[in-house]
Amino acid sequence: MSSGSALARNPAESARLASEVRLSVEQVSYAYSANPTQAPLFTVEATSFQARRGEIVAILGPNASGKSTLLKLISGALAPLSGRILLNGFVIHTLTPRTRAQRIAVVQQESPLLFPARAWEFVLQGRHAHGHSLRFESEEDVLIANNALAQVGAAELSDRWMDQISGGEKQRVILARALAQQPLLLLLDEPTLHLDIAAQIGLLDALRRLAAENRYTVVVVTHELNLAAEYADQVVLMQRGRCLRVGPPANIYQRELLEQVFQTPLSVEFGSSGRPRVTVLPGT
């Protein structure tokens, strides 16, 4: 995916490659303070990276590194203080919520529903931005929602109540709702947080498959070093609101750098796949 630079000498080829860039974060910064006289509570300093179709980008960093804020900026929930974020050439935070929802799907840390709903009702909500607000769901919407459930292997959950399924199942239904939005860009905030290891792998395998099949651009926020190493095409390494490095995991995963960012002794090995593996060394 990053092998295009050698071909970029050909102007037609470089234009094609430029059009492949779907998400472009350009010198984006942000500062939030509860009141103007106080020092900002959290900041993101100028950050830039690009992501293409079908690419998985991991925003990696310890707690309070600004990675969730960066994701909110990309989702359009926050407007950047400076710089801009383009999705297919459109500035994201100036789009209406409806247009944004047609192009960007966000999977957040699960929030409880006020009143019980069935999984299929939940997934159909992903079609909201594509219809008129008063229209009843069409057969096409139902087809898309059913497909989305099948794609994440949750077809059998369709008739279950959302508050009566396990955390891993719920996460898959939430992902299905995001797929039902048929987005260009899929954003996930700590999607593996409350999942056991099998469910984590299942979810990330599904993500990789979906990114390849549907050509989604996926941006996922995580602090799980090894999951990012295993699944991401690009890693954006954050620390205390600063973006330290952007690049493929093999370039980012250097022992000294990660030890300094995560404040813990660790070792980095490269397996046969060429992807790095991190082992945290406790008690040293």
Binding site: S111, W120, E121, H128, S133, L134, E137, V142
Partner: protein, 345 residues
């Protein structure tokens, strides 16, 4: 997957409409003066065909001139409070929200009273003077929901318990002011129990029924345009925004429309409690929590509940009456406690 269709929605609504019709017939028949079903049907047909002058018996006059207007009032007020309650519950993400619990009804009561006090001192046309009370009620309702909303917000999030407590405190503060005004001022302010408990016994002028009905339809229609958005809001404002909901617009439309509904209801019937709390829960239990179904069924259910409660209020201790608000509170408060124990962690 069984997505909502127009056919199913209409079926559910017509079921409730049949129940409402039965309740209305019961309400027409029973009261301090008994009326036979035959006489009732005959007189109603005469009203429908514009031959009211042929209704000769005193019984017929009681039914047509006293009970029927009161039932129409009950239908509109019950539907208004129930739709307002449904909207508040979704928007504030709180299953215990309703106009009465949040103090919005008390705000509307105080607004109405202030309008009634101000009216003789203003030189305005009679038409506008008639609108002054509902306008005052609307402003009182809108001001109260704004205050409660900001009281219930902590660090940008609405806190359920703080919100309800804020509503209860504001409600008791406002009712204290109402009592103070009623005790110090005299004049045509109706009774204290009317404003604090609510009743449907005060007849209105004919034009007021039209005003009430049209206001109800406009405000409910406005809320209905956001029905699908309210479904997304059940998972929170951020989630709703990411699904394409224009949250600030929905919030504005629904708060204004729900304040209009509460204001209209309170200006003609006082602060009747618990209808807007209990009815949406019952309808949600029967028909599910999709607001495209819930809003119209809650409107019909609210009408059924209040007409039924008012019939009880008229007949239980006949020939005297109790406030309909006392009936709804006796039934509603225990249900509120049940919901409180079940829902709040």
């Amino acid at each position: 997957m069984r997505p909502l269709t127009l056919r199913r929605l209409l079926l559910q609504c017509s079921m409730l409409a049949v129940i409402l019709f039965v309740v209305v017939v019961i309400a027409l028949k029973f009261g301090a003066v008994p009326v036979s079903l035959y006489a009732l049907g005959r007189d109603l047909l005469r009203v429908v065909f514009g031959q009211s002058s042929q209704i000769s018996s005193d019984y017929g006059l009681i039914v047509v001139n006293i009970r029927l207007p009161r039932i129409l009032l009950g239908i509109t007020v019950g539907a208004s409070l129930s739709v307002a309650g449904t909207s508040f519950q979704a928007l504030l993400r709180n299953p215990l929200a309703d106009p009465y619990v949040l103090g919005v009804s008390m705000g509307a009561s105080l607004g109405s009273i202030l309008a009634l006090i101000a009216e003789p001192h203003l030189t305005i046309s009679p038409l506008f003077a008639a609108l002054l009370t509902p306008l005052g009620a609307f402003l009182g309702a809108a001001a109260t929901i704004t205050a409660v909303y900001f009281l219930g917000r902590r660090e940008g999030q609405i806190d359920s318990a703080t919100l309800l407590l804020g509503g209860v405190i504001i409600s008791s503060f406002l009712s204290a002011i109402i009592m103070f005004l009623m005790n110090t001022l005299s004049g045509n302010l109706r009774g204290l129990s009317f404003w604090l408990m609510g009743d449907l016994s005060t007849p209105l002028q004919k034009s007021a029924y039209w005003f009430l009905g049209i206001g109800f339809l406009l405000a409910t229609g406005a809320i209905y345009t956001t029905a699908a958005d309210l479904n997304m809001l059940l998972a929170g404002e951020k989630e709703a925004m990411h699904l394409g909901v224009d949250v600030p617009r929905v919030r504005l439309v629904v708060y204004i429309a729900a304040s209009v509904l509460t204001g209209l209801a309170v200006s003609v019937s006082g602060a009747i409690g618990y209808v807007g709390l209990i009815v949406p829960h019952v309808m949600r239990f029967i028909f599910g929590s999709d607001h495209r179904t819930l809003l119209p069924t809650a409107a019909l259910g609210g009408a059924i509940a209040l007409v039924f409660a008012d019939t009880l209020a008229r007949t239980v201790v006949a020939p005297t009456e109790v406030s309909v608000g006392a009936v709804t509170a006796v039934v509603g408060a225990p249900l509120f406690i049940y919901l409180l124990r079940r829902r709040l962690p």
